[in-house]
């Protein structure tokens, strides 16, 4: 057979398979939007659930997820950025920095349910935080730490070496140089990484299953030692544990769509920011 023809057919085959992947992703989004959108209204977003979630809205779950992600980022951001600064600005290629890199790689690969077990053992039981926003946030923070470190380090390294040299040559100390002439220009990457981390934390179920989430709790938390509902867990409960799972299908779709919009919105925001900053800073 003519080799041009072979190539053409092969390329079409490759394209077909690739587009099949895209179409299936598209179909998932389409299905959830189609069934979820009619359910979402002001009442659904701002009302408390009633009759163990069969009626009413999902406000406590939305707020619970918001609290959890705020707690997560409050812990993970300073630690992650600090670690990234150390790796990009201070660390020589020695055993210690190798060990840190190994640790980050390991953390990135630990299954989320194992984070749940870890959080249960350390924060819930050993530290006696109980199943609470605090325990859940700390667990999620450990989980998203590698995301923030990797993104921040990358953007710190993207700052030209000349900025550092010029500043040092003027007699600035290392920390002054970092604070005034490196960090400000890498803030975009740090923000992008943080948003991705928030998106990940907001969508995770397994870690909070064991450390924070409440099955059905139609009130808002008073302190960080309280349990909360959370969107992903609420969806899981409605879909698998609810006595009338079939009947509450629309509510499941609605919850799924809210969660999806939250997470994809975060990711979309991160992508837009990345493009925006890329245009703004060129050196």
């Amino acid at each position: 057979m003519n080799s041009d023809l072979v190539q053409k057919i092969s390329y079409h085959l490759l394209r077909l398979i690739t587009y099949a992947i895209v179409v299936s992703v598209g179909y998932i989004l389409f299905d959830i939007i189609r069934h979820g959108l009619p359910v979402i209204n002001w009442e659904f977003l701002t009302d408390f659930p009633r009759r163990s979630g069969s009626e009413g809205g999902i406000l406590p779950a939305i707020l619970g997820t918001v609290y959890l992600t705020i707690g997560t980022i409050a812990v993970a951001l300073p630690l992650g950025v600090g670690c990234a600064i150390y790796l990009s600005e201070y660390a020589d290629q020695n055993r210690f920095s190798e060990l840190i890199r190994l640790a980050i790689i390991t953390l990135a690969g630990v299954p989320s349910i194992v984070y749940g077990l870890f959080g249960l053992g350390l924060f819930v039981i050993f530290c006696q935080f109980g199943t609470s926003i605090l325990a859940g946030s700390l667990t999620l923070a450990c989980m998203v730490l590698p995301i923030i470190i990797v993104a921040s380090e990358e953007s710190l390294r993207a700052v030209p070496r000349g900025f550092r040299e010029a500043s040092l040559a003027l007699g600035a100390t290392k920390w002054e140089t970092i604070r005034t002439n490196v960090l400000p220009y890498s803030i975009s990457g740090i923000i992008t990484g943080s948003i991705l981390a928030i998106g990940r934390a907001a969508g995770e179920t397994a870690p909070i299953l064991l450390t924070v989430a409440a099955f059905f709790l139609p009130k808002l938390p008073n302190s960080i030692f309280d349990q909360v509902m959370a969107l992903p867990y609420h969806l899981y409960i409605l879909a698998t544990q609810h006595p009338e799972a079939e009947k509450v299908l629309p509510l499941q779709y609605g919850t799924a769509l809210v969660l999806l919009m939250l997470v994809l919105g975060m990711n979309l925001g991160a992508i837009i920011l990345r493009i925006h900053f890329r245009k703004k800073y060129k050196w």
Partner: protein, 288 residues
């Protein structure tokens, strides 16, 4: 200068926290699991039955759970590897630049869909489909779980394979093309073989992702703790077992400790896969 020393110390300590967390993960999983080693003894884990709650004899054999995890992982990989490698080749080597810029966000979107949402989709759309196609009484089985997991492994394998393909030196391709090879021949005889270590590493990371995945399998695998290698049987994975049972076990019981042992097995398997694949990527200069 004093400020400088202080900041240095502060940054060193924050950086050390990642090491500390890894150590604490091993420590606290070990701590909760440890007593099981004395009573009833580690041998109890090597058993063919997982019956943690029973009036006669409680049994904590993890073989059915390992079998369940293996079966869904194997099936998921059989589906995912060809699709994702082809996808990576297409995106890296065939697609036009504009097309690439459209395709890549789709892969990123797939990576960011929460697993509970995919599990939900599997439950309400995929499982009924599998049920009808195969004429089963329930669509909650290893195949349905594997289909979802395949979808979740796609972004990992595609992204890293694509990086590996892109890092193949242009000179290789030019040499091949200058010898009269067609684009297609060059892709499959030069580029892909050169990127193979990276692709293998990508697959290993994908396997790690799949073995550790919890919510989607919990929702659609049917959760019967039986040893089976038939795709249309309901199975129960290690992750799903922890997620489903940890909420109801008495703290400190044998059952509780056994669940932590499962966590340790998971941790070790993913740890080894992760480190191996990073070593491969590093050795061949394909790490991002």
């Amino acid at each position: 200068m004093r400020m400088d020393k202080f900041m240095r110390m502060l940054l060193v300590s924050t950086a050390s926290i990642s090491i500390l967390i890894v150590a604490l993960i091993f420590l606290f999983l070990g701590k909760e699991a440890f007593p099981f080693g004395f009573d009833p003894g580690l041998g109890k884990l090597f058993d063919t039955k997982w019956i943690p709650v029973s009036f006669q004899e409680e049994r904590f054999g993890i073989y059915p759970l390992v079998a369940g995890s293996s079966l869904v992982t194997l099936l998921a990989m059989l589906i995912s590897i060809p699709l994702s490698v082809v996808g990576a080749i297409y995106i890296a080597e065939v697609a036009q630049p504009v097309e690439r810029e459209i395709l890549k966000p789709f892969i990123e979107i797939l990576a960011s869909i929460p697993s509970v949402v995919l599990g939900f989709f599997g439950l309400v759309v995929l499982a009924p489909l599998v049920k009808n196609v195969f004429g089963l009484s329930s669509g909650l089985n290893a195949l349905t779980a594997a289909l979802l997991l395949a979808l979740m492994a796609l972004p990992t394998i595609i992204t890293i394979s694509e990086d590996a393909l892109a890092s193949v030196p242009k000179s290789f391709k030019q040499a091949s093309l200058s010898l009269g090879a067609s684009d297609l021949q060059t892709i499959f005889r030069v580029t892909v073989p050169a990127a193979l270590p990276g692709i293998i590493a990508a697959i290993m990371l994908g396997i790690g992702r799949v073995i550790g995945e919890t919510m989607a399998v919990l929702m659609v695998s049917g959760n019967s703790a039986i040893i089976s290698f038939f795709p249309l049987d309901s199975v129960r994975t290690m992750t799903a077992t922890i997620a489903a049972e940890m909420g109801e076990v008495p703290f400190g019981s044998h059952h509780y400790q056994a669940l932590f042992w499962i966590g340790i097995v998971l941790l070790l398997v993913t740890f080894v896969l992760n480190i191996l694949s990073r070593l491969v990527l590093k050795k061949y200069g394909m790490a991002q």
